[in-house]
Structure formats: C-alpha cells, structure tokens
C-alpha cells in the first residue's frame, strides 16, 4: 500500500462520508423521485436552502414572484437541477482546502462546467445517466484536493511545472498514487456508487472503463471543452489528454456538438452564481 493510501485510510481529518451525499446518491439511482422527497432532504441543510433561494430569486431567472421554499424552487428550476446542486453543495462543503494553495472557487467552477457539459453531451441518454454525469463532472478531480490536503508541498512542486499533457505515471512516481487513484480511494471510503468511482479512476482514459465508456467519454470531452474555454481551473497547468476512441464512443456530429455547447454555456452562466462564496478555510 502506498504511503498516500495509508494516509487516506488513517487520516482522521479526512471528512467522513456526509450523510447528505449518501442520501442523494441513492436518490440519483432512482427513476422516480418526488419534489417532496428531495425538498425534505434539502431543507435539512440550511446553507443549501439559502443558496438555492438566492439562485432561484436571482435576476437570471426573472421569476415574477419571490420563491421562499425549497419545494417551490424545485417546481421552478426542475427536480434534476436542484438535486444536482444539492449534491454539489454537500461535496463542496466537505472538501475545503487552504485557499492559499488553490483558488477553490475556480476549481469548483471547472468541475461544475465539466459536469454541465457532460450532461448535455449525453442529451440522448436517460435522466439517471445524465444526472450521474453531472455529479461525475463535479467529482472527477477530487484526487487533486486530497493531494493538497495530504501533502501540499509536494502538490505545489509538482503542478507548478505544467506545459505538457497530463502524465499519470509521472504523477504516480511523484506522489505514490496518481490523482485518479487517490480520488477513487476516497470514493470507496465514502461508498460512492461504482459508476462514480469508475469515472474518478479512469476519466483521463475512458477506453479503460469496462461498463461506463459513454459516461467517461462525456466527462473526458467536457473536461477538454472546459480547458479549451479556460472555464475555472482544475488545479493543474497540465492539459487533459485525448483518446480518439472517446469521440467514436459518443458518436455525435459536429453540428450537434455546437448545439450542446451553446445549451451548456447558457446553463453554466445561469447557475454558476450558485458556486460563489464557498469559502476555503
């Protein structure tokens, strides 16, 4: 076992699996979820309730009346959007790192954008898969946050180099594990669904996935588009690698891709204010 994995296993400062995440990932796996069911979970989290009300009442949406409850927010924004934002809040609140080491708002903006792109790339798939793709976008790089938590000096020395394609072997030689492995170790500790763990573990190489190639390809392409547009910052100056199989697996035309990017950008612009103010410690 690598030193880093031992640290993950032993590290008491690592957050326990948040109850909200367990409840919400379970909810994400269901086909039929009611507004009341989701509102009941959301209302237990005061920070989330405040955020969702701020978002739904923002000028972006321009609703004519004041929205004052989580359940009404679900009616206005849609169940899937609120579910995703609730999940994102839980993860973001659980993985705070020193703001001097990384611009955490930019990190989460990048992750959020990857999730939104992935969800739109899978426009033709089930709501369950599209919901999972958003969450996988949010989570795909959590390994980098763990590097910062567990060994910030090594992290800074490594990611300061940049100017090449991400090299997972080099990362592994440096840290003892690469960011995909360390992220998936946390995913297992937190009992994430196997699908999420697969994405965290293989997002740079979707072709290695046995059962979730399409989902991984969507996250990989979302990552590439976010890098191209420089939306947020993944915490690394390295460029995401590309496997041509990714494009074949997704099987979408360039015209369709254009529509997808336009819709996703619109959603990112509307909801990114939700991410503002997740203060680092």
């Amino acid at each position: 076992m690598s030193d880093l994995l031992e640290k993950i296993e032993a590290q008491t400062s690592l957050p326990s699996p948040p109850i909200l995440i367990s409840q919400l990932t379970a909810l994400l796996q269901k086909d039929n979820v009611s507004s009341q069911e989701l509102a009941k979970i959301g209302e237990t989290d005061q920070a989330f309730t405040a955020r969702i009300l701020k978002l739904v009442n923002s000028p972006f949406y321009g609703f004519s009346r004041q929205i004052t409850s989580v359940e009404d927010s679900i009616t206005m924004l849609g169940l899937q959007v609120v579910n995703q934002l609730l999940l994102a809040t839980s993860v973001l609140e659980s993985l705070k790192v020193d703001h001097k080491l990384i611009n955490i708002n930019q990190f989460w903006l990048h992750s959020f954008a990857v999730g939104v792109f992935a969800k739109h790339i899978l426009y033709n798939e089930s709501d369950v898969l599209r919901g999972s793709s958003f969450m996988c976008g949010i989570l795909h790089d959590i390994g980098r946050l763990l590097f910062i938590k567990l060994d910030s000096e090594k992290y800074l020395a490594f990611y300061d180099k940049g100017d090449s394609v991400i090299d997972l072997d080099k990362e592994k030689r440096w840290f003892g594990m690469n960011h995909q492995e360390v992220g998936s170790a946390l995913g297992r500790k937190w009992n994430f669904p196997d699908t999420f763990i697969d994405v965290i573990e293989n997002h740079h190489h979707p072709e290695k996935s046995k059962n979730n190639k399409k989902l991984l390809s969507a996250v990989n392409l979302g990552d590439i588009i976010s890098h191209a547009m420089n939306i947020g910052n993944s915490g690394s100056t390295y460029v995401t690698d590309f496997a041509p199989e990714t494009w074949e697996i997704l099987n979408i035309s360039y015209d369709k891709l254009k529509e997808i990017i336009i819709k996703a950008l619109d959603e990112i612009d509307k909801t990114k204010t939700f991410l503002e103010g997740f203060q680092s410690k």
Binding site: S164, N230, N233, T237, D241, L257, L265
Partner: protein, 54 residues
C-alpha cells in the same frame, strides 16, 4: 464595435482556444472540436483567456 475590433476579437478567440488545446490539437477530432468551440464563442461574443501553462 468597429470591423477592426471585431476581427481582433475573433482572432484572439481562435488563437487562445487553439493555444489552450495546443498539446492535443494534432488529433483531427480535437482540431474539429476546437473549430466548433471557436464558432460558438464568436457567435456568443465571448472572449477566452489563455490557460495558465498553455
């Protein structure tokens, strides 16, 4: 915005997206994807910064 400014903005979008993907733009698929991204950004009049390290 004048024609000259429009052209500069369009050139900046093209150059910066291409630069942000410079390490993988040798793939035909990425070159075509970058063209789509550039077209969207120009249509939406959205500028793009060069990624740190690119």
């Amino acid at each position: 915005m004048s024609d000259g400014n429009n052209k500069k903005r369009d050139d900046d979008i093209s150059n910066n997206v291409t630069r942000n993907l410079s390490m993988i733009i040798h793939h035909d698929e990425i070159r075509k994807i970058s063209e789509v991204i550039i077209a969207v950004l120009k249509e939406k009049d959205k500028s793009v910064e060069i990624k740190e390290g690119a």
